[in-house]
């Protein structure tokens, strides 16, 4: 997903000549193509995320569309005030790209887990939030990121996520994507755990549960009316995300349900702070009951 996104961005930067890529001394072999094709629009800002984000704001004030790029929490938490004040308050065309969403950097340990990032990006003024699930969603996110005006956070997986969609995506910003319609329950999923969630839904359907699956590549803005329409009469929801419960997809859907008086019953499938073991992404998700079998089992138990 990461490579697909960067490749698409590199392709589009030939047309969009105001695109800059600002790396936080990361991206070896991933960003080389962009750097070679557009040397004046590629900057390695060094291990200095505050300056990286501030200078991106300065570039954007002059009409550029800079993408900052680093791992998980480095381009977000480390420079949060620059994102809040310099980028978001001034409503600038800066894209913050975080690579290694969720538990992508599993064996690297907690410092590299991006599991609270959605929560800190959601309240910021003007900030759009994109969390693609697979390479096809990532390509569409790259296209949307160039068409959109204003700050944007883009959260990418990096472990060779399989295609969840068969065809190229053409969704608009905020549009929920229905892959399966169900009446017993629906899984709402964001980010690279989507493919696993879809497998779980298919497994549940094979067991007789009419479970739907909706992918949310955009968390902000979110087309709530479209989501409500897709859900039809289904009021039993499971939110699926590689993120902690607070402030992520679960929180978002709970807020919408209460505010719009939609009456959804929502169960979170998310990541705790205390992980039971060390391991790669797949190993950790399995240990947390967030592999396809675990998700199916947990939903089945709730529906029974």
């Amino acid at each position: 997903m990461r490579n697909t996104f960067i490749n698409k961005l590199t392709e589009l930067a030939a047309i969009h000549k105001n695109v800059w890529l600002i790396a936080g001394d990361l991206g070896y072999s991933v960003l080389d193509g962009f750097a070679e094709r557009y040397p004046t629009r590629f900057v390695n800002a060094g291990v200095a995320e505050q300056n990286m984000t501030g200078l991106a704001a300065g570039l954007a004030m002059e009409g550029a569309k800079p993408f900052t790029y680093s791992i998980a929490n480095f381009p977000t938490f480390r420079c949060l005030e620059q994102i809040r004040n310099d980028v978001c308050y001034h409503n600038l065309d800066v894209r913050v790209v975080s690579v290694g969403a969720g538990l992508s950097y599993g064996t690297h340990g907690y410092t590299h887990y991006g599991i609270e990032d959605i929560a800190i990006m959601r309240p910021l003024p003007n900030m759009a939030i994109l969390c693609p699930a697979d390479p096809k969603e990532a390509v569409r996110c790259a296209e949307i990121s160039l068409a959109h005006t204003g700050p944007m956070y883009i959260r990418l997986g990096k472990n060779g996520e399989p295609d969840m969609h068969h065809a190229q995506c053409s969704f608009t910003l905020g549009e929920p994507l229905e892959l399966l319609r169900g009446t017993d329950a629906t899984i709402l999923s964001t980010g690279s755990i989507g493919y696993t969630g879809l497998q779980a839904a298919q497994s549940l359907r094979a067991s007789g549960w009419d479970v739907g699956f909706i992918s949310l590549p955009t968390l902000r803005p979110l087309n709530v009316g479209r989501l409500h329409t897709l859900l039809g009469s289904c009021r039993r929801l499971f939110t699926l995300e590689e993120h902690v419960e607070a402030g992520g997809l679960f929180s978002l859907i709970c807020e919408i349900s209460q505010r719009e008086e939609l009456g959804y019953r929502i169960t979170p499938l998310c990541v705790p702070h205390d992980l039971p073991c060390l391991g790669n992404q797949g190993f950790l998700l399995q240990a947390l009951g967030l592999d396809a079998a675990g998700i199916a089992q947990r939903i089945s138990a709730q529906l029974t």
């Binding site: 004046t40 629009r41 900057v43 800002a45 060094g46 200095a48 505050q50 300056n51 990286m52 984000t53 501030g54 200078l55 991106a56 704001a57 300065g58 570039l59 954007a60 004030m61 002059e62 009409g63 550029a64 800079p66 005030e81 620059q82 004040n85 310099d86 308050y89 001034h90």
Partner: protein, 274 residues
């Protein structure tokens, strides 16, 4: 600099100072000491050194001035009003309910404010981005960033201090308002900056030390600046917190206090603008 020019800057600075103390007194606001220490620098910059068009604040060829020490907003607003970015009666509701001008520099309602600041250590990285863009696109305007001495504690500034020479940003000027007092003590007691000039020279900046209240000295420090060069410039401006009002000078207390009516009148007498 001839006598006539000096008098132009001195008169401008006096009007800015007087409005600063009036604004802070009326609003019962803080930071008068921080505002007064940089008034002469602002008077020199806006009195002629910056290429600007107050009637067209976003004129694309303008020099960019970033007020990183956003708590010195009273001085910035008073300066912008003096040179015509907005009407002077806006100053009367500075930091007041319903007013246009917030206690820290805010771009949304004040034409001429390039960047909203107040959280310290923000403007220099933004200025670096502006300078990088101008250099890359072959444009000749300069980027000037005024930072405080206490603000030099912020790591973000040192990230930018490292980065700017690496990218040969000769179109960037940082002016440090070195009044020797930060929020909760003297610089030398909190985190000493010395030898500040040596530090920045070692980081490949062209460093000039000036008297930040002497227009000839400020002029001399900036006279060699060449935006087409390859070395960023740092002006260390030695200043006095509260400069121009004797009882406010070199005092930590006037980082926070606001003058009462009697103190305001005394201040205006000393400034010569009553």
């Amino acid at each position: 600099m001839n006598e006539l020019q000096t008098e132009h800057y001195r008169a401008l600075a006096s009007r800015i100072r007087a409005n600063c103390v009036r604004m802070v007194a009326k609003a019962n606001a803080s930071h008068i000491g921080s505002s007064l220490s940089c008034v002469d620098i602002l008077a020199y910059l806006y009195g002629g050194w910056l290429s600007i068009q107050p009637g067209e604040p976003k004129w694309v060829e303008r020099d960019r001035f970033l007020m990183s020490k956003g708590h010195g907003a009273a001085a910035l607003y008073a300066t912008l009003a003096e040179v015509g970015f907005f009407q002077k009666d806006w100053l009367e509701s500075y930091c007041c309910n319903g007013g246009k001008l917030a206690g820290h520099a805010t771009h949304k309602s004040a034409p001429g404010v390039e960047l909203s600041t107040g959280a310290l250590g923000h403007a220099l990285p933004v200025g670096v981005g502006m300078a990088l863009h101008a250099k890359t696109s072959g444009r000749s305007h300069k980027i000037v960033c005024l930072i405080s001495d206490g603000e030099c504690d912020e790591g973000s500034n040192w990230e930018a201090f490292l980065f700017a020479p690496a990218k040969k940003l000769g179109n960037l000027v940082v002016i440090i308002d070195y009044n020797k007092i930060q929020s909760y003590g003297r610089i030398d007691e909190v985190i000493p900056l010395e030898p500040l000039a040596d530090k920045l020279r070692a980081m490949r900046w062209d460093v000039r030390e000036v008297d930040g209240h002497d227009f000839g000295s400020i002029h001399g420090g900036l006279s060699a600046f060449d935006a087409s060069g390859n070395v960023p410039t740092c002006i260390i401006a030695h200043t006095i917190k509260g400069k121009g009002v004797s009882f406010m000078e070199d005092s930590l207390a006037w980082h926070y206090k606001s003058p009462n009516e009697a103190q305001l009148q005394t201040a205006l007498d000393e400034i010569g603008e009553r």
